[in-house]
């Protein structure tokens, strides 16, 4: 199967998952009523369900999945590490702390408990994720290796985790429940405006990646070779990590810290035989991420379990196969996966 053909299959899968999500749900609506509502006719309740609930949720799933997949690809390429993903830099942890401070800290201080809307939660996530990015920028020059940078992300995760625990211990039950719910991950939290935000960021990132494909390819050969082939290391570092960070941060703000999607998507693409040149991988990763997220959201609606549970049940075995060098994920454990 050529790259084009596999991308056609992915588009088809996305359409199928999208349509099945659009025309099914707990409301048990009549098919013709659903269609009429989509066309702007019929009763107001059905129109609300279709236009306010199902469509934005499915759009959010498709865009977020694509964004996380691309974020994961950029991180794995930049760190030359097959186990890198959007959460490694500590951006998700920072966002989680930001949300915890707004949702839990604010509530216990009494100033935000009455009006704990999505807006302040998103702001908290963006500020928290952004703070980690700025911190990273300030200390980056001191890191001598990629491993140090990965450890930085891990330690930020521990630190924010500790602070979140402190906030949780002092929070009231209602705020705690809202926070835990956010942490389980969901594509249903956003609305049209959040879809627009993520779509804009995703489009910009796709354009940047498409224009930087050759440099990213060179980067897989090591920084010395890449630099002597014309790659501006500083510029690539900032733009690649910035792009990956913004994508992960935005998705986390609305959907919660989503597990495994960013890490596993590029590997699924490689397992289908598409690897090497980024120009080849870009659209496959974007489409696979979108399709995976739509599929996972379908399972969430069908089985009634949280998104992160679904993704972890699928994602954890993928990573285990990856490091043990079994199955379709090749010899990653023994020789290091080829990016």
């Amino acid at each position: 199967m050529s790259v084009r053909q596999s991308q056609m299959v992915l588009v088809l899968l996305m359409v199928v998952f999208f349509a099945s999500g659009l025309f099914s749900g707990p409301a048990q609506l009549d098919w013709s009523a659903e269609w009429a509502a989509l066309m702007g006719r019929g009763d107001a309740t059905t129109q609300t369900i279709m236009w306010r609930l199902r469509l934005p949720r499915l759009m959010m799933a498709a865009f977020s999945g694509a964004a996380l997949g691309l974020s994961g690809l950029l991180m794995q390429t930049y760190f030359r590490n097959p186990l890198a993903g959007p959460s490694v830099l500590g951006v998700s942890s920072g966002a989680t702390l930001g949300v915890a401070m707004v949702a839990l800290g604010g509530a216990s201080l009494g100033w935000a408990s009455r009006n704990m809307g999505m807006g302040s939660q998103v702001l908290g996530a963006l500020l928290g994720g952004g703070a980690v990015m700025v911190l990273l920028g300030l200390v980056m020059g001191r890191f001598r290796s990629m491993t140090a940078l990965l450890i930085f992300g891990l330690m930020v995760g521990y630190l924010t985790g500790a602070l979140v625990t402190v906030l949780q211990a002092g929070a009231d039950a209602g705020a705690l429940q809202a926070f835990v719910h956010w942490g389980m991950g969901s594509f249903a939290n956003g609305g049209w405006s959040s879809c627009v935000f993520i779509l804009v960021a995703l489009s910009g990132s796709i354009v940047w990646t498409a224009r930087t494909c050759s440099q990213l390819d060179m980067w897989t050969m090591g920084s010395l070779t890449a630099r002597t082939m014309g790659v501006d290391e500083r510029k690539l570092t900032w733009s690649a990590l910035g792009t990956a960070g913004v994508l992960a941060g935005l998705v986390t703000a609305w959907c919660g810290p989503i597990a495994f999607l960013g890490l596993a998507t590029p590997h699924l693409v490689r397992a289908t035989g598409i690897s090497g040149r980024h120009s080849k991988m870009l659209w496959s990763v974007v489409l696979t991420g979108g399709a995976l997220a739509l599929f996972a959201d379908g399972v969430v609606r069908w089985a009634g379990v949280p998104l992160n549970a679904v993704l972890s049940l699928v994602g954890a075995p993928v990573v285990l196969l990856l490091i043990m060098g079994r199955g379709p994920f090749g010899s990653a454990g023994k020789t290091g996966a080829r990016l």
Partner: protein, 237 residues
Amino acid sequence: MSEAQLVMRDLELVYPTAGVGPLNLELSPGGNLVILGRNGAGKSTLLRSLAGLLTPRSGQVSLGGHEVGAMSPGRRAEHMAFVASTPPRGSALTVGDVVGLALEAGSKSAGPSDVAAALEMADIADWIDVQLDTLSDGMAQRVMMARAFNQAGSMVLLDEPTAFLDVVGRREVMHDLGKWCASGKSVVLATHDLEAVEQAGWANRWLVLRTPEQGGSLLLDEAFNAQKARSILTGEA
């Protein structure tokens, strides 16, 4: 070009701290330079300074009249390529991809036929769809050599390219470098492989990096002689 291509002016490197300079040298187009020195003598530091990747402690490196440190990475890549002692590992790029990227970096055309022609010339046409990572060290190093040759217009810097190769591999690399010199490309080679260089017969300029304590660096303008090089390096000269 009438002016010298690569010029080092009062160059003092950031490493070793004892200093091996000041180095003054002009390398005209098509000229070659073999850099010798014991482990830690500053060979890699010198090559990285010439490539514009390291800022020298003092002095200047210029290429075609432009200071290399001030050139953009893209401009530098058009003029100079770099071969490290180990080929990269972990990349999923194919041999064809690698050479294609090199042509692109040198801002030459990089269509499928250009890549095929470049691989044909390097005698590795059969490997076009093979992943670089699956090749042995020796084979992968040949690909990295072909990459460097196709990237840079005027100069290739090589940092112990034969360090991990067998006897035949070493001979082939040194032989290829001779062909590059003959085709007008400048070759700057850091190596410990004295015999292979002498055998290849193209080297006629060599620089031995030494600290002042060891007697200071030496520049010799004569056909390469392994025995003489050895006695200079061991301090028995």
